[in-house]
Amino acid sequence: MNIKFDPKKLRKTVLDMAYAGSTVHIGCAFSIIELLSVLYKSHLRYPNNDPFNKGRDYFLLSKGHGVMAQYACMRELGWLCDDDFLNYFSNGSDLKGLSDSRIPGIEVTSGSLGHGFSVGVGLAMGAKLNKTDQDTYVLVGDGEINEGPIWEGAMFAAHHNLDNFMVIVDENGFQAMGKTQDIIGLGSIQSKFESFGFDSITVDGHDEIAINKAIEKLWNSDTKKPKALIAKTVKGKGVDFMEDDNSWHYTRLDKENYRDAIASINEGDV
């Protein structure tokens, strides 16, 4: 399969569904678009394009608030259909505002934060015990790493040499109520993970080539350490009036700003 996972198209899909469902968390989805694009395009292996395939790699969106970005990728894979998007948030529909493991292709139920990391660690350990070559990726938000279980899981992953485990931190600098540095300052996330026993690289989270290289470099490391990719991102990336404006964690689109947002993405083509 040769799917492009074009970031502009993914962002438009997110806008379409956010507008259709009059939903929030657009900024949370936009900061991880390139990360997901690279993962789905070049790293996640789904034999026979089957989200249930027993030999698949695992991708766990622990920051469930970005789930619209994942839905957009799953549409490209053919796992979701147009109706899912047109009817987003309508009564009786399946796709929720936060990730739900009952949707094929979504591994964990999130939204309550700090869960996916540990489940991913368990999957990585399971792959080791089963002697398979499956890799596990867990994408967490920078706000999410306020949660204690992340660090419990980090110690565990390093202690058990889970070098088939990669955490990707979406460092967009914001959490629900404001800037991370004003709420719980995180300092250097890379050095935190390094001190917990991870190989770690910080990268521009919107530069697909750099992301791809960093992931390859982490996997090619000679150590037995788990991996941490720290992605510096912009919340709301791709729509000029949403970028770095945390109100788009909660703001809903109306006809006018939906149109402006699509226009802003199209302008980026030039």
């Binding site: 493991s101 009952r102 591994e107 964990v108 139920t109 309550s112 700090g114 869960h115 990391f117 540990s118 489940v119 991913g120 660690v121 368990g122 999957l123 990585a124 350990m125 399971g126 792959a127 015990l129 089963n130 204690g148 279980p149 419990e152 899981g153 110690m155 565990f156 202690h159």
Partner: protein
């Protein structure tokens, strides 16, 4: 009872290499046999219960059969949300063993005492709740939990109150077990875990009382409960657990729908322990010692 727990764990571990025993740095000598017999199936996750449950969920998804051990104050109470979201939501086959339920850790205080766990666990969909009274019930509960291939919380309370049964033929999940039969039934005592012993001892002093042990809190055979309530003039429910949301509430929920009966709750009142002391001392503090319970029941039956 603890030796029985160790024996069944070893038996399950040897029978099924997919069985993994996870502990949050608790258990001490309890796992000596398991570690010797199944060294590669034992994981001390460290003092990190939330991660332990998440890891267990991941392992279960990978085809393993995790048994997660902790003190009842931590598993399920501390990790309730992990059990709900990471395990029960997805029907994963993880067995949670919560040890030391009730006032077992009488000298250690509130952090280690656990009288909320039945109430909190039985409201979680897809999660079964078992509460054995002796080693025979424990063995059957654990092997049924394993056969179920779904999420189970197994509550283990005071473990040295002696055998309730001399032996126990195979029981069906959900059934209540009659542990004392009267010739003529007037009242029924329904008890779980450590309090089954108390219920029997008190019934011995009174007349016309059947005593039932409830190893399966959820799911429970509702028709059996309805029948017991229907055939009794009054029911006394015993549990070393809060009077809110536990076995007493469960029996009342069922009986009130179809066979209303007057119920006395022998349970922990809405309060934390005040003082330090032996297990027996704390039972007394909470009015759950033999004398207090006997008096309570005597007056209740007198007033009927």
């Amino acid at each position: 009872m603890r030796q029985a727990l160790s024996d069944v764990l070893v038996e399950l571990g040897k029978k099924d290499p997919k069985v993994l025993l996870l502990t949050g740095d608790h258990g001490y000598a309890l796992f000596d046999d398991f570690r010797r017999e199944c060294p590669n199936q034992y994981i001390n996750v460290g003092i990190a219960e939330q991660n332990m449950v998440g890891v267990a969920a991941g392992l279960a998804r990978s085809g393993f059969r995790p048994i997660v051990y902790g003190l009842s104050a931590f598993v399920p109470i501390r990790v309730l949300e992990q059990i709900k979201l990471d395990v029960a939501h997805d029907h994963l086959p993880v067995i949670f063993i919560g040890d030391g339920a009730g006032f077992v850790y009488s000298h250690l205080g509130t952090s280690h005492q656990s009288t909320e766990d039945i109430a909190c666990s039985r409201v979680i969909p897809n999660l079964s709740v078992y509460s054995p009274a002796d080693r025979f019930e424990l063995k059957q509960c654990l092997s049924i939990a394993y056969q179920n291939n779904s999420a189970v919380y197994l509550r283990i309370g005071k473990a040295d109150r002696g055998d309730i049964h001399q032996s126990l033929p195979n029981i069906k999940s959900g059934r209540l077990i009659k542990v004392r039969a009267a010739k003529k039934i007037k009242y029924s005592f329904i008890a779980t875990g450590s309090m089954v012993r108390t219920a029997i001892d008190i019934a011995d002093k009174l007349h016309n009382i059947n005593v039932w042990s409830v190893p399966f809190i959820k799911p429970i055979d509702r028709s059996m409960v309805e029948k017991i309530c229907h055939n009794s003039e009054a029911v006394v429910v015993f549990e070393e657990h809060s009077r809110f949301g536990g076995l007493g509430s469960l029996i009342a929920e069922i009986s009130s729908e179809s066979s209303p009966v007057k119920i006395l709750y022998v349970a922990v009142n809405d309060r934390f322990s005040q003082k330090c002391g032996t297990y027996e001392y704390l039972l007394k503090e909470h009015g759950l010692d033999f004398d207090a319970v006997y008096k309570n029941i005597y007056n209740f039956l007198l007033d009927l």
